[in-house]
């Protein structure tokens, strides 16, 4: 009897989990559509550049490259390997299929 009760209980739990998962899938679709609507509002989704420079003022004393590319652009980073001169080489490949890629050097004297 105990095993049968356990079985019934598990079946009910799995049914609940299935409903929960479906609800999350639906909510994710709503949100993705909502974000797409915001992004499609092309007049206003640019990001004020000065704030990226603001990142520099946040003690980020680095060189910053801003890469602006069409949705779907692929970025590929190979596993770092040793170059001929014994120095490690770090690489970034960018490939777009729907529009040009723009790269901005943000804070280099």
């Amino acid at each position: 009897k105990e095993v049968v009760d356990r079985l019934r209980y598990l079946e009910a739990e799995i049914e609940d989990l299935e409903l929960k998962e479906k609800e999350l899938d639906q909510q994710k679709l709503w949100l993705q559509q909502s974000i797409k609507n915001v992004m499609d509002d092309s007049t206003n989704h640019q990001y004020p550049f000065k704030h990226i420079k603001g990142l520099c003022n946040h003690g980020v004393r680095d060189t910053l490259l801003a890469i602006q590319a069409p949705c779907g652009t692929q970025l590929e980073v190979p596993i770092p390997e040793m170059g001929q001169n014994g120095q490690k080489k770090y690489q970034i490949n960018l490939k777009s299929s729907s529009g040009p890629i723009h790269v901005l050097l943000i804070n280099k004297e």
Partner: protein, 149 residues
């Protein structure tokens, strides 16, 4: 008993999947809030400045930020149509996406870190679809479920 064991395994798999989907939903919620907040702020800026910002003072979304040491030598090859770039760095770098940059600039009101004033919480709630407001200010169950502190 065998059937019970199979269902236990199935139950764990589903719980794991739901956990991942909640994390994704939280990420999307924060993204939505940050983007909408950005759009509202851009509109306010344009009203104050009576017009759009100077062309070279903004960057279109989506974008990525690569940061590396000032000493790093960067070698860059670009295809003539600008559809392909190859960068070689002689030092390490880090890459962050616009969502990360927007968060660091406080565009998602610090929700991801649980440092959000009541005022900002109200604003954040107004930026998400009605059906999802519960995750921002609703009952504890929903908030906890997205582990939004």
């Amino acid at each position: 008993a065998q059937e019970c064991q199979n269902l236990e395994i199935e139950k764990q798999r589903r719980i794991e999947r739901i956990k991942q989907k909640r994390a994704q939903l939280q990420e999307l919620l924060l993204q939505q809030i940050a983007f909408k907040n950005l759009v509202q702020r851009n509109q306010q800026n344009e009203q104050q400045n009576q017009g759009p910002p100077a062309l070279n003072s903004t960057i279109q979304l989506p974008f990525l930020i690569v940061n590396t040491s000032k000493k790093t030598v960067i070698d860059c090859s670009i295809s003539s149509d600008k559809f392909e770039y190859l960068f070689n760095f002689d030092n390490t770098f880090e890459i962050h996406d616009d969502s990360e940059v927007l968060k660091r600039m406080g565009m998602s009101f610090g929700l991801e870190a649980g440092k959000c004033s009541a005022e900002d919480l109200r604003t954040a709630k107004s930026l998400v679809p009605k059906a999802l407001e519960g995750y921002i200010t609703g009952n504890r169950g929903q908030k906890e479920s997205l582990n939004l502190p």
